[in-house]
């Protein structure tokens, strides 16, 4: 009686779990099985492809440099301190993860746009950010920085504090202890955080569309190019999608290997 009930439970759980796995895997599989090599090559020749690829590579590289350059000191500070103000900053930093991308786009417009909070200041400097490549980078930084900061903070918190005390006692300045001990030991976590942030930036769509627009060669990144190509040539949209999936999957494999 009892074994039969247990068997029933196991079977039900297995079916439900398999349903979700299928739901998650099928769309990606369809991307591949409905494509033909000739179709992919044809699709990649579409005029939106090359400018978007270049723009995505440039903006995500600049964005990642900004995220790592600004996020590492922040993560270090978060990991070395505690208290209400630290938790408050951590919550603020996590906010972009839960904000819908379209809302992020509006928020960025209302900050950096001509009518925005900093609009008059930027206007005075003769700097128009919205609907420029700078806006693309800003949108990517906004949505992707939390992934890096959270990963880096966790990596720094995982360090044995005694190692840093010993480094200081040996005569190392705070900077030397940071660069020679903390950074090398936290490196796997920093890399994982940077990879997640980069993947999020590469896929960024909503905030970019609202805040930067969809101008070929200027603000049209790969996801926006997919959206544009879909109207004229499904094969181009599919080819670009495959490209992004392959990149994302490669990144996942590298991260998985790093965790082992």
């Amino acid at each position: 009686m009892r074994t039969r009930r247990r068997r029933w439970f196991g079977a039900a759980a297995g079916v439900l779990a398999a349903a979700l796995v299928a739901l998650l895997a099928l769309p990606t599989i369809s991307l591949f099985v409905t494509a033909s090599p000739a179709g992919i090559l044809d699709g990649l020749r579409h005029p939106v492809v090359l400018p978007a690829l270049v723009l995505s590579l440039v903006t995500t590289t600049v964005g990642l440099a900004l995220v790592v350059g600004l996020g590492t000191p922040l993560a270090w500070w978060l990991s070395r301190n505690s208290g209400g103000h630290v938790r408050a900053v951590e919550t603020l930093v996590a906010l972009p993860v839960v904000i819908p991308p379209a809302v992020a786009g509006i928020a960025l417009l209302l900050t950096f746009g001509r009518q925005g909070l900093l609009g008059p200041v930027l206007d005075g400097l003769g700097w128009s950010i919205s609907f420029s490549t700078t806006a693309v980078v800003l949108a990517q930084v906004f949505v992707s920085a939390p992934f890096y900061v959270q990963g880096a903070t966790a990596a720094f918190r995982g360090l044995d504090p005694t190692l840093l005390v010993v480094a200081r006692s040996l005569g190392a300045s705070q900077a030397r202890a940071f660069f020679r001990i903390a950074i090398p030991l936290a490196r796997p976590g920093l890399f994982a955080g940077a990879a997640m942030a980069w993947a999020r930036a590469l896929g960024e769509f909503g905030a970019t569309l609202m805040f930067a627009g969809n101008l070929q060669g200027k603000t049209q990144t790969l996801p926006l190019a997919i959206y544009t190509a879909l109207e004229s040539d499904v094969r181009a949209a599919q080819a670009l999608s495959l490209l992004l999936v392959v990149v994302a999957f490669g990144l996942l494999l590298v991260l998985r290997r790093g965790h082992r």
């Binding site: 005390v165 010993v166 200081r168 006692s169 040996l170 005569g171 030991l185």
Partner: protein, 251 residues
């Protein structure tokens, strides 16, 4: 003449750390039950924990003075700290661990010069064989020697040890203790050692400071403590590891 003197008061969670110590070339052992503030005392000497009031002098120069508002940063105090698990940098080889300390001392020295100096130090402590291995591939005794070599590379003016033998197998403990006694005798520097074990005190011929609940409950030589234990803890500490002495006599 090297001398480490300190009077400290630091508010901790459940109690205040309130102690004075004066160490010359005879090693001082700080003993006491868990949570008595022993490690905090070392971290305060190091400048990692900041006391509310007090003064720390090394060779007559102030490292900390609450009244004169002097607070020398940890890296400039000239105190070598060897924590309980030795805290060797896990991403560096034994040799690179020592080179790290040499590099802090003389940042502009060429790398090959540093390497030779590090190897010479490891050789002096008898662990040259492990020079190119990472800490994870060293035995407990080897780690302790590498940690000592790294601490000496810093050319310290005083040494601080936290439970230097606790992480070792009982089998090698005796041997490592005698190495350490020889080194300390050679160096002729003030040394402070936190320990639980009266055998450590005996091996290093240390004088004892008993810390209980942040306060000094007794100080003196092991013989003096044994003759007149001031608290139950001291009586138990003296009685431990002494099968020839009946514990009933102590209690």
């Amino acid at each position: 003449m090297s001398r480490l003197e300190a009077t400290l008061r630091k508010r901790l969670g459940a109690f205040d750390l309130d102690m004075a110590l004066d160490v010359q070339t005879r090693t001082l052992a700080i003993v006491g039950p868990n949570g008595a503030g022993k490690t905090t005392a070392l971290l305060t000497l190091l400048g990692i924990v900041k006391p509310e009031t007090g003064r720390i002098l090394l060779g007559g120069e102030p490292l900390f003075d609450a009244v004169a508002k002097i607070d020398v940063p940890t890296e400039d105090r000239g105190l070598a700290y060897v924590p309980q698990d030795y805290a060797l940098f896990p991403h560096l080889t034994a040799c690179q661990n020592v080179e790290f300390a040499l590099g802090c001392l003389r940042p502009f020295r060429t790398a090959p010069g540093r390497r030779d100096e590090a190897r010479a130090l490891l050789d002096r402590l008898g662990v040259l064989g492990g020079a190119d291995r990472r800490p994870a591939a060293l035995s407990g005794g080897e780690r302790q020697r590498v940690a000592l070599a790294r601490a000496l590379a810093r050319q310290p003016r005083a040494l601080l040890f936290d439970e230097p033998f606790a992480a070792l197998d009982a089998g090698v403990r005796g041997e490592v203790r005698s190495t350490m006694r020889e080194r300390l005798a050679e160096l002729d520097l003030p040394a402070v050692m936190v320990t639980h074990d009266r055998a450590d005190v005996e091996a290093l011929g240390a004088s004892v400071l008993v810390l209980e609940g942040g306060r000094v409950t007794q100080r003196g030589t092991l013989a003096e403590l044994e003759a007149r234990p001031a608290t139950d803890y001291v009586a138990r500490f003296c009685g431990r590891n002494q099968p020839d002495k009946k514990s009933e006599r102590a209690t």
